[in-house]
């Protein structure tokens, strides 16, 4: 096996070399090959899902509830559940994450403590999401007796994405020019006034785009929600944060694991909806970040 890899590497090396001599830019070939490879995979998946799912995207699909008949099943509860979770994760992780980020970046003065917290937060970002699901089940669902509710799910997902928000906040604050902070201090501003009037407004778009990316991550998760008890059949429109719920990824999971193959069409269609939603959030995040860079540079 090793020998095969070695040969392969040598062949790639030789190809790059050859290309280098022909065109004077060997690495461009590697880059192009791998880029095309990745793009091809993503495009392939997208095409497959589109072809399978697109015909199902009709009014009935968006307004229907779960059903045993694939053609009559819809995503209304799942879609609304995802919107609920989206809004709640935003509302929970934004203030908590930003506050923690500000504190870590501007208030922790002991270097060793800051380092310790930083390592821990980085580690938290790497914990598998299902572990957060178990934490949520024990702490929010049972401990705080929130039940298998939208609120419990949103809190769990918020805990999961909190490290992302904290890191984004710290990075955005670090981008604030030191001269601005210094100027504010020199005028007699307190630390908080400096942060509130100058650092935060400058960092805000960066923070917001970080939060949006975190929300995107949260609404794509199925595993932790399965653990805390998202259900397959929600026969009503969720009306409060204490209601039972389902979300798009969970709905997709249930459909995809059904034996009848025509449910796969539903799963594909739901995937398209979820993709559109995440794409929308991502675009929003990118837009905000671009505007921010312009502002910092001007």
């Amino acid at each position: 096996m090793n020998r095969v890899f070695l040969r392969l590497f040598k062949a790639i090396d030789a190809a790059g070399d050859w290309y280098d001599r022909q065109r004077g830019d060997g690495f461009a070939l590697y880059g192009l090959v791998f880029t095309l490879f990745v793009v091809a995979i993503v495009l392939g998946l997208f095409t497959y899902v589109s072809i399978a799912g697109f015909p199902r995207l009709g009014t009935r699909f968006f307004t229907g509830f779960a059903s045993r008949i694939p053609e009559q099943a819809g995503i209304l509860p799942a879609f609304l559940g995802t919107l609920w979770v989206m809004a709640l994760v935003f509302l929970i992780s934004f203030p908590l994450g930003v506050a923690a980020g500000i504190h870590l970046e501007r208030y922790v003065s002991q270097r060793r403590l800051a380092r310790l917290l930083e390592v821990n937060i980085t580690n938290l970002a790497g914990i598998p999401s299902i572990v957060y699901g178990l934490l949520g089940l024990q702490f929010f669902v049972r401990g705080l007796a929130l039940g298998e509710s939208i609120l419990a799910a949103s809190l769990t997902l918020s805990m999961m994405v909190l490290p992302l928000v904290i890191v984004a906040t710290r990075e955005a604050l670090r981008m604030v020019p030191g001269s601005v902070t210094e100027a504010a201090y020199a005028l007699g501003a307190t630390k908080w006034q400096t942060i509130w009037y100058h650092a935060l407004p400058l960092a805000f778009p960066g923070i917001i785009s970080g939060v949006l990316l975190a929300v995107t991550r949260a609404i794509g998760e199925a595993a932790p929600l399965l653990v805390i008890g998202a259900v397959a059949f929600v026969p009503f429109v969720p009306a409060s944060v204490f209601d039972y719920f389902t979300v798009l990824p969970v709905q997709i999971f249930f459909w995809a694991t059904k034996p009848q193959s025509s449910f796969l069409i539903n799963a594909s269609a739901a995937i398209l909806v979820l993709l559109a939603l995440t794409l929308l959030l991502n675009l929003l995040a990118v837009r905000i970040r671009e505007r921010w860079h312009k502002r910092i540079e001007s």
């Binding site: 003065s109 020019p177 001269s179 601005v180 210094e182 100027a183 504010a184 201090y185 020199a186 005028l187 007699g188 501003a189 307190t190 006034q193 009037y197 100058h198 400058l202 502002r295 910092i296 001007s298």
Partner: protein, 253 residues
């Protein structure tokens, strides 16, 4: 009575002592120039006067600094109030990335003043004080960063003045400006002297001799000479001052 008195001040960054036993006093409504080669401690000394040095972790001071006869390093001193009384202008113009108006208004806002017409009036008055009003009165709500370097620096002075300090610290305020902007700034310093006590760090000896009443020469953290500017430049008492101002200075090592 002196406006500022520095007594027996030593200052450390970590383990390296960057100011050794500095003693000097400044009379009210005068300009004092601090000169010396790079790294001599003149900027550090300047920042000792409004406690901006404290922002650097691991820094330490011994000795005492009095402003208006009151020590500024005792625990009961409110450092934020101190900095409102001792304004500062930096080497590189550093207006906030906000409008011209908001730059000047900030000092008032952090004092808790929100009265619109009061702020309007104060903005105009301070901008007039720095001879910037005529140039910017039609674009008060445009970004401050769109101004020229010289205008930005005068805006920074206006911003500092709006807080109503009695002392103004200037850290090489003209070092990034062209000759015309520099001339305007020096004129402004002369005007401001009628009201404020000014401490000016500069690399430019002509500037020191043109603008200041007294000049202090620092070298390697020591105060070598401190005298009336006229005396300082025509008849310095120390050989190294003589060497420095005539450009024959050698930094050994």
């Amino acid at each position: 009575m002196f406006k500022i008195e520095v007594r027996d001040v030593h200052f450390w960054y970590g383990n390296s002592e960057v100011l050794h036993r500095i003693d000097l006093s400044m009379a009210p409504k005068t300009v004092t120039a601090l000169i010396g080669p790079s790294g001599c401690g003149k900027s550090t000394l300047l920042r000792v006067l409004n406690r901006m040095n404290e922002l650097i972790p691991g820094s330490r001071l011994s000795g005492e600094v009095f402003i208006d006869g009151r020590s500024i390093y005792t625990p009961d001193v409110d450092v934020y109030e101190l900095r409102k009384r001792v304004g500062m202008v930096f080497q590189k113009p550093n207006p906030f990335p906000k409008s011209i108006y908001e730059n000047v208004a900030f000092g008032l806002r952090i004092k808790g003043i929100n009265h619109r017409s009061f702020i309007d009036e104060k903005v105009e008055r301070t901008l007039r004080q720095v001879f910037l009003w005529e140039e910017v009165k039609d674009k008060l709500h445009k970004p401050a960063l769109a101004l020229s370097g010289g205008q930005q620096q005068r805006l920074c002075i206006a911003r500092a003045l709006a807080v109503e300090p009695s002392i103004l610290l200037m850290d090489e305020p003209a070092s990034s400006l062209d000759p015309i902007s520099t001339a305007k700034l020096e004129e402004l310093i002369y005007e401001l002297k009628q009201t404020y006590t000014i401490v000016l760090v500069t690399h430019n000896m002509q500037q020191a001799s043109r603008t200041s009443d007294r000049t202090a020469f620092l070298y390697k953290g020591n105060l070598i000479e401190y005298a009336d500017t006229a005396t300082f430049f025509t008849n310095p008492s120390s050989q190294s001052t003589q060497d420095y101002i005539t450009g024959r200075f050698r930094t050994e090592g």
